[in-house]
Subunit: 247 residues, 6 copies
């Protein structure tokens, strides 16, 4: 379908906090980047209040913590092969505003994503995640309307994939897509290890990738051609899959 | 992934009545056949009691009606490019039995499907459809077990697609996959026209394909490269999609 | 709509146990009878094992208990103005069979109901109720098919109303219809008092009627013209309401 | 129930955009008007940004588009026999505010509706529709409270009917009421044809009315007395139906 | 687990209106107080507009009504043995704000609750209840974060219990906990009788306690050792129960 | 509550296959046994066809496999401190029958459980698990009825806990109870290691216990007094918790 002169495929990741894209979508990002595609990460906040407990306990200031989380996130994004943008909108709580949504519309029109990744709709343990979801979903609709003002071309209706929350069953999360990230697993692990403030999560999310990999293999048809062990990430699809073949 | 000597992909369609595969999955069948793949249709009943009202009103006997529905279905399957098998298990009601489920296990092991299509779990207007669903789902699990007796090799875990019931919203049906059947639409229409006993449905299911086509375009990302008009079929996925790329 | 020679409207109530129609639908039955309509109650069992604890404790035999429950139910039906038929299918558990379903098909074709009342789909405290629901729902579909054998004319698709289970919230019950039974309340209470074996429920179901009446008034529009106090019964509708006016 | 001197019944329709009342509730409006009842339509926005793509592509200004959509909507309302009011609250996004909700409270108290029609709670393709729903629902509750300030008498608790969204299955829409609009179909079609900016929807919503009509007939009891073909609109009821008879 | 010097257990109740804590959680409050525990009630509003109809009809002013409701609530709290705080945030509608949520964070940190009680997430009849729920839930998460500014120690993750709304089935309420309040029933009734403005609810909520008591006994295992009659309150648990024993 | 002469508490575990009780409820069993309580495990089948793939591949016969699984299960039960009974009802599929249900009624009356553990209602990957659930739930209701024939005293209504399926999110499983099994973890691990036929699951279920332990700590209130690391099992409660205190 892509003409010879077509731009590379583009993926946009909209997240609430600086570390989310690594734990939840690092494999998808690394896979896209490895295929030579463009990946842009929008970090709405640094997670400075809600996800930096160890830094606060160490006595750091708000500005120091923001700088620390930004640095970590930039290094992780570089490892994964993605561009990252920070919006510094303030976390705990992240408050949706028309202005922030409008900035996301501008970003959507600028990067013209073929795919959008973001948090799922519900998370009773962290209200910032649903807030980011709502803004990403609203901005995606607004960016499609020729009548919505602002620079850039309108976008189509790119598919959305919602990544896994920390407590999936309590958040209504059901794995609707199991993405095989085996071949980029080392890259994802390296990106995770950039996040020194949350070291206790390195093994936790490694175990999760193993478990999702077991399920991937359990749901795979006879001709998938998978090696024996797989690492995987799970996603939900809020919109129907458009397909040319059932597979 | 397929080696040069790999057999062609195989699709198995398990349906309750003789006409179901045409209205609900004719496009998917024609697409697979057009790609040179093998498609096998298991008709558990002829729909002789529940979906042959005009024939009954015309005074035909049960045997005449079965023969009529078999003939229609065979011609429609031929138009679509699929093989069809009849189980004559009796409709209205179709009663699940271990014997019938066991025959489906044997069929699954014989055709080694890469994909299974069947009815969805719920249909308050026709209990035969959920009965066929339950048997297809159970047989698919049993056929994976090396300990389940019978000839043939065990199967993997082929993905399942549930096709659209007659009253989707009342049956808990949500389009999770929109399949573009534009290029085989004429073939599906020709297959529908083999079903003379249900002529009132020809236009009904043409309208449905248009409506699902509108939704397909409404959900398509920017680079899908679709022509302006599309015809589509809708499916649910009871198991997660296994993917190597988010798209 | 009804021609001068049209038969009176017909209501069919399909219940698991001898007392169910009184507690759960006595008001609806009395209302229909008071309008001169025909009401037929199908009692699939006497509730001899599962809902006759005091009689068992009093040392009565199975046959004595059946006779006792039949007598109570006949008197209650007479008070309400309805005809009652017993199927003696055995309770605790009530086991759905093709034969019993077939007898219900025959009954549906015989009484040609304009309305069908039965238990709702779920009740974790009493499996006989869902069993009766499933048979009533299946028989209603089969009775519509000209190809389903048996005497009598086929029926249309009469609306179904599912009455309230004993623990509504645990059974997924949501009041979708609140029926004003104020004017026949005394009749319902008199019918309840025929059921000496379950005397502890008289006040319980009186309180329920008061509570549903409060909700009826809380949901009533400005012009309903209700008196200050109302007694009500709650129902679910598994099929859409067909209407000529939104009201 | 209505006394001779009672005012005619009153229907209030609260919609997000100028065209919504035609596509989604034109039949219900025309039916009510044909019975001599009062119908008032509250258009919260003109749909100037989100539903006027062709006008934007033709190079019109925001003010021109608003005037165009207003003119279309006024003509369509006149065809249907309804009064229409515009709130010009700005679409894409329509932002709920206490002020706009308060204006709806005033309208509810002014027109004293027997019935309220509005959008359903969910629509992942258009956030303005749920926003209108939430304001309509909140205003209806506030207008019932004697302590809520403002002119006019408090209202009762009029039933609410939510009309069908563009992609019903993806919006959690289940047809709970099927309204027979056959006798006013020509009027609805004429109203649709007032909306020149959305000509591609004329046939789409005609097909929908046919499909809902098929379902209406499929769900109708034996004595409905319907002619062979029906046109219909589908609605959800968020509150229980209050009834004097099960039918 | 509690050391000899541990403070008494602490319960925080967050409610929308002045009377809510009595009808919905009076038993739980009285039980805790009777065990010598600390109970703090946060009343976000007096219910001055939405739940004081009789006072408005009697011609009282807004300030008079607030004073009246405050006085009633203070007396009821005293009867139950709890401390009460008023926030006077304005009802009908109660509008969530960052400032009010922040005050709740301060309260949570001040009282260090072992248990939080509040409204459930949904109530289509009264939007103030879900608004209070959302603020209570958000404040509970924010109060756990060391990075969230303000005085006091951070809290743990106390379990939350959502009390029963006025129309449970329409609000998605399912009794997940049935609390035996038999031994404090007289206290709850005495507290209810402090609420002279809502005298019609005294018997209504007595009947509810009887009905929940019947269900409590119906769900109790063999060794519960309950007396024959029980009074009960129902709650939902939005978070998992943490247990050392299955019972 | 328990009198001095009261028998010890009794737990009944109803499972489909020989290994289920170890992976899914080994911690709960070991905890109860460690408290001196009686635990009885009912294994409806040996899992001889569906969960013994490696034995089949090793060429063993059906009888050899049954003996092997029985031996493993007996050793694991002994490690946990429980009694085990085998019903040899045949797996893949496990077919519910009145006779098997009746045997469970007898068992319930014999052991008079204070708590019942079994599979949850849904598992799309293994139909035997829901079949065992349905029989356990039905038998528990029948065993309460004095009119249901058979030896032994009727039972009360013991609470039910449904243990975690292999793919929780796909089976509608939500952790409603998180049970702290830290203190018996070594016992559970030792019991798992009795199951040589499923060695690949040892680490899988160890990881699961860690993950549920993390969630347990994340949901624990301030005074739980837990050590830093916890191992846990998750359960659903199909019936309301009956409580004397909210905690």
């Amino acid at each position: 379908m892509n003409q010879p002169t077509a731009p590379p495929r583009s993926t946009l990741v909209v997240t609430a906090h600086a570390g989310d894209f690594v734990w939840r979508a690092g494999g998808a990002i690394a896979l896209a980047a490895a295929r030579g595609e463009r990946v842009t990460i929008a970090c709405l906040t640094f997670g400075e209040r809600g996800e930096s407990a160890s830094a606060w306990r160490a006595g750091k200031t708000l500005d120091e913590i923001k700088a620390l989380r930004r640095d970590e996130a930039e290094r992780a994004a570089a490892v994964l092969g993605a561009e990252i943008r920070f919006y510094d909108a303030g976390d705990y709580p992240l408050v949706p505003t028309p202005e922030l949504t409008d900035r996301l519309v501008g970003l959507l029109r600028a990067v013209q994503p073929d795919v959008v990744l973001t948090h799922p709709a519900d998370d009773p343990y962290n209200g910032d995640h649903p807030a980011a979801h709502r803004m990403a979903m609203e901005a995606r609709v607004l960016a499609q309307a020729v009548g919505y003002p602002g620079p850039g071309e309108i976008i189509g209706a790119p598919p959305v994939f919602c990544f896994e929350p920390h407590q999936p069953e309590m958040s209504g999360f059901r794995p609707e897509v199991l993405l095989d990230i085996t071949e980029v697993w080392d890259t994802k692990r390296a990106a995770m290890e950039c996040l020194g403030a949350q070291q206790h999560l390195w093994d936790y999310y490694t175990d999760l990738a193993v478990r999702r990999g077991v399920q991937l293999r359990r749901n795979a048809g006879p001709n998938l051609g998978l090696a024996h062990t797989a690492m995987a990430e799970a996603y939900m699809r809020p919109f129907p899959q458009v397909a040319r073949e059932l597979a």
